[in-house]
Symmetry: C2
Subunit: 120 residues, 2 copies
DNA sequence: TATTCTGGTTACCATTGGGTAACTACAAAT
DNA sequence: ATTTGTAGTTACCCAATGGTAACCAGAATA
């Protein structure tokens, strides 16, 4: 999940990639954005992720200080997630990536059946 | 390597992550930077990557229009890589990631033995 | 009494990622 | 005649990723 060798690199960029350089984390950070969101919501909004993987990713994001986790001792349980200052500071980078993609992406017409309908 | 479901999403951000959202591609793009570089150089500079994986990543980056590949019909063969306009436009984003990491990273003192000495 | 609801955890299994080593072509050097 | 060098490709194999399904608590609801 997290590449420990990358995270232990003495190159700050390599460390950053070790932390957020996989396919799920940028998606999750983008979905959360500026709101507070519950586990179940994330599970249904993030496309195609399993609960197990979502749990793992959230735990790592919290460990790396991007995410704050608030567990209420209720029944049924309620857990809320929101981005920390560090996580919020990452959002503009995701915006740049969006703009970059829109500007340079080669047009592709995916088959209807292969599409993920994913709206933040 | 590349997640086809992500690449076929109708969300431009998800597609972008499908394209560059893995651990090797940002590293490779960063290593290439503004220079022209040969396969063998990349293989020795990019930390811990195998030739097989490097080949795959380079091929995908070329297919996605981030990279230009120049093969000279010589013996021994010579192949040079450099970033396309799209690839070059991605470099500032990598700079933001570096800055973000330097600003917010929690200090960690990796064991000497676990370090990768990686200098661009 | 049985079911539902939430946010997990766990065991199990299939798929994939990614590493190693051998092989290629052919010219030039030894 | 053999080795060297480049940029791969291929076969093989092991480790890691990630999916599914079952299970948990305990209150509220039917």
């Amino acid at each position: 999940m997290r590449d420990e060798r990358f995270c232990n690199s003495n190159c700050p960029f390599t460390r950053a990639i070790g932390t957020i350089g996989n396919k799920w984390k940028p998606i999750i950070i983008n979905v959360i954005g500026t709101r507070t969101i519950r586990f179940g919501q994330l599970d249904s909004i993030v496309p195609l992720i399993s609960r197990k993987v979502l749990t793992e990713q959230l735990k790592e994001l919290e460990e790396d200080g991007l995410l704050e986790r608030l567990a209420y001792r209720e029944l049924p349980p309620r857990v809320e997630y929101k981005l920390s200052e560090k996580g919020l500071a990452f959002l503009p980078i995701l915006e740049y990536i969006k703009e970059w993609n829109l500007k340079y992406e080669v047009a592709l017409i995916p088959k209807e059946t292969d599409r993920i309908n994913y709206v933040r």
